[in-house]
Amino acid sequence: MHKKLVEIKNLKTYFFVEDTEKQKSLHQEISDPALMDLYKTDKYLKNKVPAKAVDDVSFDIYEGEVLGIVGESGSGKSVTAYSITRLIPDPPGKIVSGEIIFKGKDLLKISFEEMKKYRGNEISMIFQEPMTSLNPVMKIGDQIMEAILNHEEIPKEKAEKKAIEMLTLVGIPSPEKRLKDYPHQFSGGMRQRVMIAMALALHPSLLIADEPTTALDVTIQAQILELMLRLKKEREDSAILLITHNLGVVAETCDRVIVMYGGKIQEISEVDPLFEKPLHPYTVGLLSSLPNPDLPMEELKAIPGNIPHILELPKACKFNTRCTKAFDKCFETEPELLEVEKNRFVRCHLYENEK
C-alpha cells in the first residue's frame, strides 16, 4: 500500500440550528467535552442544537488512489469533503473536533491564512454545478490565471501560457481564443472541463470532486471521469476524493469506497469486494436499488423509507429505521466500525461475531 496522504481522525462537523424545544433537554445529553466547550464559549450557539452532519468520521486517503464516498443526499459525504478544506459555512456550521492530517500537518490547527495556501494549491476542488460554479462576469482565462497567480509569483504572461496549456490538456479546442470567453459561452460539459483545468493548474496532491458529473449528460459524464483519471495519472502520487451517489461511477473509477449514512461511515471496502459481496445492509440496499437490465422494471428495489431528518436520527444504529435485518440490539447500542477482513470495515451488529 502507498503512503498516507491524508489522515482523518474523529472528525465531527455539526451545523447548529435553532430549536428551543430540543435545546431544553440538550445540556444533559452532551457528553462530548469539545462540544461542551463550544457551548460554553460561543454565544451564537444559545438556543441552538447541533445537527450532526459528520459524526466521528475517521478514514485515510492514500497517495495515488481514487477514493469514493457514496451515500444518499444528507448522508454527510459533501460535508466531510468540505471539512478537509474548511469550507464549511460558519455560521451555521462548525468543525467541532477531530484531526485532518495532511502531509504531517493538522489542517484543523493551522490559521485561516495558512489554510489559504493549501486551498487550490495542494488541495483543489471541483463542484457539482458547472453552470453556476464559475463567476459569470469574469473571463474564464482570468479565472484560471487567478488560481495560478494566487499561489505562484510568476509574470502574467507565464500564467496565461499555463492556462492555455491546461485548457489544451482538458480538451478545449482553440484555447487561446476561448481564454477570453465568458462562462455562458460554454456548455455544461465544457465548463466542467474549465473547472478541472482550474483545479489541476497547480498540480494538487489531492483533488476533491463533489459530484462532478451529476449535472451532466451521461455521455459527457464518462468523458469528464475519464479526463479526471487521465490527468491524475500524470502525477503518480496524487489522489482523488470522489463524492457521488452514483454507484456506477464508483465501479468505473474508484479504488476504494466509503459508504456513509447518517453522518457516519457504515462500510469501507475496496471496490471489487464491495460489489461482489456488500456487507452492510445499507450497502446491500444501495446496490440492489441499481437498475438491473436483466430484471423487469417492477423489480427495481428501493430501500424502504427515507433518510430521517438529521435532528431525528436514531440513537443506536443510524440505519435501524429502514433496515430489513434489524434486531433488538440494533435499537439499543450503536455498533462499532469493525475490521472484518483486511482493509474491510463495517459498522453493523450482524458481523460482530465473525471476528
Binding site: K116, F127, T132, N135, P136, V137, N150, H151
Partner: protein
C-alpha cells in the same frame, strides 16, 4: 447590438413628440395663462389708481379690445393651439426655445444660467451617495446581523422615511442660526460677498453653503442604494462561484471585491443612467427650501408664473436626459454583464 441601440435612439423621437404634445396641450388649456395674468396686472394697476374711490371689482371694460388683441398676438394666442404647437416644434428644430415671458430673455439663456448650480449640487450628492452607500452596503453584507448592521439599517430607514425637503427645513431650523445653533447659512448658492473673499475663504464659503442642501439631496436615495447593495452582495456571497473562489485559496477580501462585488454592481449600475437625469433636473422642493437658484426652483417659478416657454424648455431638456439616460442604463448593463446582449 448596435442596431438595437440605433433603434432605441430612433424611438426617442416619437416618445419625445408624445410627451411634449401632452404637456403643451395641458399647459395651454389650463386656465390662468400669461394673458389672464397680464390682464390681471393691468387691472390691478388700474384698481390701484382708483383704490381711493373704493372700486374693488375690476372689469375688462377698462382695457380696450385692441390692447387685448395685441397681447394675444404677443403671446401667440391669436392662432389655434395645434398651430402653436407646430410653430413651437419648428422653432425647437432651429434650437430656438423662444423668449421667457417673465425674464424677457431667450429661454436657452435662462436655463443655462441655472444649470451649473443644479449640476453642482446634484453631482456632489450623487457622487457622495455612491461613494458612501456602496462600501457601507458591502460592509453591512459582510457583517450581516451584527449590531453595526442593525444600527445603520435603522438610521438609513429613518432617513428614507423623511422627505428631503422636510429634512432640509429641520436642518435649517436647527443649524440655520434661528433658535438653536448658528452653524450653517440659511440658504443660497454662495454668500453675497463671495467675490471679495480670498481663495480659501471662497472654498470654505462654497462648502459651507453646500453641506445642508447636499445632505437633503442624499438622505432619500441613501437607503435605497445601501440596502440594494447589501442585499445584492449577500445574494452573491451565497452563490456557487464564491465557493469556487474560496476553494482557489483567495483571501476573503479578494473574494468579496473581485467576485461578489462585481456581480453585485450589475443591478446598481443600471440605476446610473437614470440617475443622470435626476441629477440635472434638480429637486424643486429642496431648491425652494434652501433658496438655491437652480433648475428646480426655475421650473417651480415658471409654472407658477405661467412662463410657458421656460416650462417647455425645461421639459425638453429633462425629457431628453431621461430618454438618453434610459439608453445609457442599457449600455451600462451590457458593459458590466457579459451575458446581456440586446437584439
Amino acid at each position: 447590438m448596435t442596431t438595437y441601440f440605433i433603434r432605441r435612439f430612433l424611438l426617442i423621437i416619437p416618445t419625445f413628440l408624445g410627451i411634449t404634445l401632452v404637456t403643451f396641450l395641458i399647459l395651454q388649456i389650463v386656465p390662468g395663462g400669461p394673458l389672464e395674468m397680464e390682464l390681471m396686472k393691468i387691472r390691478m394697476g388700474g384698481s390701484d389708481g382708483v383704490s381711493e374711490s373704493g372700486s374693488t371689482s375690476g372689469s375688462t371694460q377698462n382695457i380696450p379690445q385692441s390692447a387685448i388683441e395685441e397681447l394675444q398676438k404677443f403671446y401667440g394666442f391669436d392662432k389655434p393651439i395645434h398651430e402653436r404647437y407646430i410653430l413651437w416644434l419648428g422653432n425647437l428644430l432651429k434650437l430656438d426655445l423662444g423668449k421667457s415671458y417673465v425674464y424677457s430673455e431667450p429661454v436657452m439663456d435662462v436655463i443655462t444660467s441655472r444649470f451649473p448650480i443644479s449640476i453642482y449640487f446634484g453631482l456632489i450628492g450623487f457622487i457622495l451617495t455612491y461613494i458612501v452607500c456602496i462600501p457601507l452596503g458591502v460592509y453591512k453584507a459582510v457583517k450581516n446581523g451584527s449590531k453595526f448592521d442593525f444600527i445603520t439599517s435603522a438610521l438609513v430607514f429613518a432617513g428614507y422615511a423623511i422627505p428631503g425637503f422636510a429634512f432640509g427645513a429641520l436642518m435649517l431650523v436647527l443649524f440655520g442660526g434661528g433658535s438653536f445653533w448658528d452653524v450653517f447659512p440659511l440658504g443660497g448658492f454662495r454668500s453675497s460677498d463671495y467675490e471679495t473673499l480670498s481663495l480659501s475663504g471662497k472654498i470654505w464659503d462654497q462648502i459651507h453653503h453646500t453641506i445642508l442642501p447636499v445632505a437633503s439631496y442624499m438622505i432619500g436615495s441613501f437607503a435605497t442604494l445601501t440596502i440594494l447593495t447589501k442585499n445584492s452582495v449577500i445574494e452573491n456571497l451565497s452563490q456557487d462561484y464564491i465557493r469556487t473562489a474560496f476553494s482557489k485559496g483567495l483571501t476573503e477580501k479578494r473574494v468579496i471585491f473581485g467576485h461578489a462585488l462585481r456581480n453585485s454592481l450589475i443591478p446598481i449600475s443600471t440605476g446610473l443612467g437614470h440617475a443622470i437625469s435626476l441629477v440635472l433636473a434638480g429637486s424643486i422642493l429642496i431648491e425652494k427650501v434652501f433658496n438655491i437658484n437652480g433648475i428646480g426652483l426655475l421650473s417651480y417659478d415658471s409654472i407658477i408664473q405661467r412662463d410657458y416657454p421656460v416650462v417647455m424648455g425645461i421639459l425638453v431638456i429633462s425629457t431628453l436626459l431621461l430618454l438618453v439616460g434610459n439608453i445609457l442604463s442599457d449600455i451600462l448593463y451590457a458593459i458590466v454583464d457579459p451575458r446581456i446582449r440586446f437584439k
